[in-house]
């Protein structure tokens, strides 16, 4: 469950769990998070929580709302975001996002059903259910009742940085009309050869670089050895022969 940590001048004042659909922030006492400071407007901002996602919205406050140094009107909160209201700071902590490894078992696909709630172990989804129903209300397909079942999904954005090997590599042509030319292997996939005659592909993977036959009757030759249909791991200074052209694979520092 996500929470906010309220602090001033580095001193932690309190922690607030985001259990409600709407958590209001302001100077007036009826706010969920009351900050009694003249720099804070009566109704300053609101955090709308939809299951595991929270959105911060400024309610037209006099002095504005700042997230990570940037003034915002509306902001999709990410783990460790710092919200500034005058001298006060609110840190957004989302444990689901922080502890991704542990959450793997919970991120299975589930059906979201507005209405009938199945009591879940975590209170967060229960609090969020009305929002879900509201969010879904526009869709025709919701005839009847559904439950937002409890879960702690932990998405992973595909990360190219994580997937790419540390080293860079290139292929230099050793024969043919373009001898001497270098081709950097920066893309996840680089094709070599002549379409319709013989094509091979070099894939860039976390484990390194691999060459695989794609099309054509003859297979690529690496260091004098003809490959089969399987991917072949490339080492520094391997010599590849393809469609009558020789080329050298090498790692760059």
């Amino acid at each position: 469950m996500a929470k906010l940590i309220l602090s001033m001048d580095g001193l932690i004042l309190k922690e607030i769990a985001l259990t409600k659909e709407r958590t209001t922030i302001g100077r007036k006492p009826h706010n969920d998070i009351q900050i009694d400071n003249l720099a804070v407007s009566g109704e300053h901002a609101v955090i709308v929580t939809i299951l595991q996602d929270s959105f911060l919205e400024d309610l037209g406050s006099t002095n504005g709302t700042v997230v990570n140094g940037q003034p915002i009107k509306k902001h999709f909160l990410q783990n460790s975001d710092i919200v500034e209201l005058g001298k006060y700071k609110l840190k957004y902590v989302n444990e689901a996002a922080a502890g991704q490894a542990k959450a793997a078992d919970f991120e299975k696909t589930m059906v979201l059903r507005p209405g009938s709630m199945r009591p879940g172990p975590a209170p967060a989804p229960a609090a969020a259910a009305p929002v879900v129903a509201a969010a879904a209300a526009g869709a025709k397909n919701f005839g009847d009742t559904l439950a937002a079942q409890s879960a702690t999904p932990a998405p992973v954005a595909p990360s190219k940085a994580a997937a790419a090997p540390h080293k860079n590599a290139a292929v230099q042509l050793l024969s043919g009309a373009n001898a001497g030319k270098e081709l950097d292997l920066t893309k996840p996939l680089t094709t070599l050869g002549k379409p319709g005659v013989q094509v091979a592909v070099i894939t860039r993977r976390p484990q390194g670089f691999f060459i695989t036959h794609v099309e054509g009757a003859s297979f690529p030759v690496v260091n004098g050895k003809t490959l089969d249909a399987q991917a072949h791991s490339l080492n520094d200074h391997d010599v590849i022969e393809l469609a009558g052209v020789k080329m050298e694979f090498f790692l760059k520092t």
Partner: protein, 274 residues
């Protein structure tokens, strides 16, 4: 009518790097122009049961029905295109089977599955889908997502709550708003599309598109399109290289040539002798 020699189909399915079970299920019949992919959900092995039931019911029933029925014709009673009618009926049948199994057997309670089906005929394709399994099309060098997910995130994107870029950061990725086998009745979204020779269609479970960006999927289809089997394996491998947090399934279909339906009597006669 058979489409043999018209479509090239390759597929690959993998449990991924984290899960022990593969709850995805795929089936295809290139000669009938039929491909089906389902991503099951539910405890223990219930997800596999649900997705397996969905693909089996749909492919076997449609294979038989397509022997007698002509998908491009309009049904006299309903006024619907036969392809739509067949898909509607068989999806309803699969839904009932899964729903009843889930109701009658406690270990299957709450199981369900997403579904994406494509039926090719007469230079066209009819696509039916439920949930967040997708169909993409590569035409020339443009990759387009054809189906629109039935998910909380898609609804948030549609209503402007979040942008597609923000959606990639969302914690609510795994919530679908429609699934097969959860309720007594389900409505599939069904649309027709024109196909062209050279098109490559990709059906995939969210284990692929959550782990591999559309850009990298497009690059793989473009560069490895001449070897569909390798391309399918590469896509699964890319998802695993990026973490493989879910089961990954892909079906690739390439349109090799035009396949207009034989409409004249002579054409129909010819097609019988093929």
């Amino acid at each position: 009518m058979t489409l043999s020699g018209t479509l090239e189909v390759a597929s690959c399915t993998d449990p991924g790097m984290v899960r022990s079970h593969n709850e995805d299920s795929i089936a295809s019949d290139g000669d009938q122009g039929l491909v089906v992919l389902a991503d099951g959900m539910g405890g223990y092995n219930a997800g596999e049961v649900a997705s397996g039931m969905a693909t089996t019911v749909i492919i076997t029933e449609l294979q038989q029905l397509l022997e007698k029925r002509v998908p491009y014709e309009i049904d006299a009673h309903s006024g619907q295109r036969v392809a739509h009618q067949l898909l509607h009926e068989q999806i309803a049948k699969a839904n009932t089977s899964i729903y009843q199994a889930a109701q009658s057997q406690p270990q299957y309670a709450g199981m369900g599955t997403t579904l994406v089906v494509a039926l090719f005929y007469d230079n066209k394709m009819t696509v039916a889908h439920i949930g967040d399994s997708r169909l993409y099309r590569l035409r020339g060098d443009e990759l387009r997502q054809v189906t629109k997910d039935h998910s909380l995130l898609q609804e948030q994107i549609d209503s402007g709550v979040i942008t597609p870029q923000q959606a990639r950061q969302s914690q609510n990725k795994n919530l679908v708003t429609r699934a097969l086998g959860i309720d007594p009745i389900v409505e599939a979204e069904i649309h027709d599309y024109d196909t062209q020779p050279g098109d490559i269609y990709l059906l995939c479970s969210d284990g692929l598109c959550d782990m591999v960006s559309d850009e990298d999927i497009g690059l793989a289809l473009q560069t490895l399109g001449s070897n569909l089997k390798l391309c399918a394996q590469h896509l699964v491998q890319s998802a695993n290289d990026n973490g493989g947090r879910d089961n990954i399934s892909v079906i690739l279909v390439r349109v090799l040539r035009d396949y207009p339906a034989p409409r004249s009597i002579v054409g129909k006669m010819m097609s019988w002798f093929k």
